[in-house]
């Protein structure tokens, strides 16, 4: 890796974005009659602090001594494939979680069946060995954790889950 890269500039950039958002968001807040500092005070202080910090961080990064540009050999091909598969796993995982929450929010399925489905399907995506034994185990775990613990919460601790 190079001593300086795009990545090093990201914290400062993020700081700047948040700083500006804070100052903009606090622009129209009313002053307070009883307080020397109203609701707008703190967002402004923090916004300015963020901008100053972003500037200081930029200076720091700019002054970093560029380390010798190592010719980083590209990661071995095999690794890329593994990464790609994991990346795919991540995408599927995020999609499944999103779907799970959406189904529960919209009330298409009540909480317990949706949870059992979620546990089983994400487990299936993440598992490496898809043998009959793993499938069975996944199903059992999904039932015990998804249905079992929800029922305990529902019946003993009186939590009311959506759609229940």
């Amino acid at each position: 890796m190079d001593g300086k890269s795009i990545k090093d500039a990201l914290p400062a950039l993020l700081g700047l974005v948040f700083g500006i958002a804070l100052i903009a968001g606090a622009w129209n807040l009313p002053p307070s009659r009883f307080e020397p500092m109203g609701p707008a005070g703190m967002p402004r202080i923090v916004g300015i602090a963020l901008i100053v910090l972003a500037a200081l961080e930029t200076i720091r990064v700019a002054r970093l001594q560029p380390t010798k540009p190592i010719e980083t050999p590209d990661e071995p091909l095999q690794d890329t494939r593994v990464t790609a598969r994991k990346g795919l796993g991540l995408i599927v995982f995020v999609v499944l979680t999103f779907g799970y929450l959406a189904i529960v929010s919209l009330g298409w399925l009540s909480f317990i069946p949706a949870s059992v489905l979620f546990l089983f399907s994400t487990g299936l995506v993440l598992t490496k060995t898809r043998s009959a034994k793993t499938l069975l185990l996944l199903a059992v775990v999904a039932l015990v954790i998804g249905a079992g613990s929800s029922r305990v919460l529902q019946d003993v601790l009186l939590v009311r889950f959506p759609g229940a």
Binding site: S32, R33, F34, E35, L158, R160
Partner: protein
């Protein structure tokens, strides 16, 4: 053929009668949610739980009532939830004057008029107190000190809350110049006054009566003296025409059928007539006084008027 049709229609009828699709004629056919805008375990929360407990333990309703805590956004999260619910009587809001004060302060764009009132179950009028080692033993001394040396008396309060309004009433009626420090809820106020950072506060009579805090009660904002602090004069006795109480109200969504509101009101009335409920609430220094219908509406209106009269002082 006819038989087939009968079976079919029976099946259809059964299907239509599935829960969820049923015409909800026999209210309540599922649990009624009591939406409480406070954190679990807070004092206000506990009284609602005690009442709900009594309803359920004595089977006053065919279905249970359940407490759902929805704290946040200065109680407006909970009130907005009930306001926007279906007007079917399955969501009940449990709240007090904050419904009015948050409207005056602009935190919400609606007041109690946005709901169908069910009943008022209990109330507590507030007291004014100083720390035990503050050396301020009566209200006249406090008023005089605040006038002689402006800024010497600072009130630990929660801006925009009923406490803030109450001290504003005191300032307005007595000519005192008590300044405000925004400290927070009851616990924080007691810490601040006992730590000597601020001098005085609005607090419940129960806390004034507690020996272990050693607070000096100076004034009571109720119509008559409070039994837990019989030595503390009322504002009326001092010649100030002010009153400030926290009244606990049960409301539901506007447009709920009146028979359902009536059923809820009857249920609460029954619960509030149980001696154990009354005792639980009264030992904490609150008064059980059940109001419904027109009397309840009148109480709300009086509060709206009273709080609006000092609106310009707190906004």
């Amino acid at each position: 053929m006819l038989k087939g049709k009968t079976i079919l229609s029976t099946v259809l009828a059964t299907m239509l009668a599935l829960p969820g699709y049923a015409q909800d004629d026999d209210y309540p056919s599922r649990p009624i949610e009591v939406i409480v805008p406070f954190q679990t375990g807070g004092e206000a929360d506990l009284f609602s739980r005690r009442i709900v407990q009594a309803v359920n333990d004595n089977n006053l309703l065919p279905q249970p009532m359940v407490v759902v805590n929805k704290p946040g956004a200065g109680t407006t999260l909970a009130s907005r939830d009930v306001k926007n619910a279906d007007p079917d009587g399955y969501k009940v809001l449990y709240l007090h004057q904050t419904l009015i004060t948050s409207n005056i302060m602009g935190t919400s764009d609606y007041g109690p008029e946005a709901f169908d009132p069910i009943a008022e179950t209990h109330h507590v009028c507030v007291a004014y107190a100083t720390g035990g080692d503050s050396g301020i033993g009566d209200i006249e001394t406090l008023v005089k000190m605040s006038q002689d040396e402006p800024g010497s008396i600072k009130d630990a309060t929660l801006l925009g809350s009923l406490s803030h309004f109450s001290t504003a009433m005191l300032n307005s009626a007595s000519g005192a110049d008590i300044r405000f420090v925004n400290v927070g809820g009851g616990g924080e106020r007691i810490s601040s006054v006992m730590g000597g950072h601020t001098q005085s506060m609005i607090i419940t009579p129960y806390n004034v009566s507690r020996d272990d805090l050693g607070l000096n009660g100076l004034l009571y904002f109720g119509p008559e003296r409070h039994h837990l602090m019989p030595d503390v004069p009322t504002a009326k006795e001092m010649g100030w025409d002010i009153e400030s109480c926290v009244n606990y109200w049960w409301m539901t969504t506007k447009g709920t059928p009146s028979d359902r509101v009536q059923l809820l009101s009857d249920t609460l009335r029954e619960a509030m007539s149980l001696p154990e409920v009354v005792e639980y609430i009264e030992t904490k220094g609150l008064n059980v006084e059940f109001l419904e219908g027109d009397a309840f509406r009148a109480s709300i209106d009086a509060n709206v008027e009273r709080l609006n009269s000092v609106a310009s002082m707190v906004q």
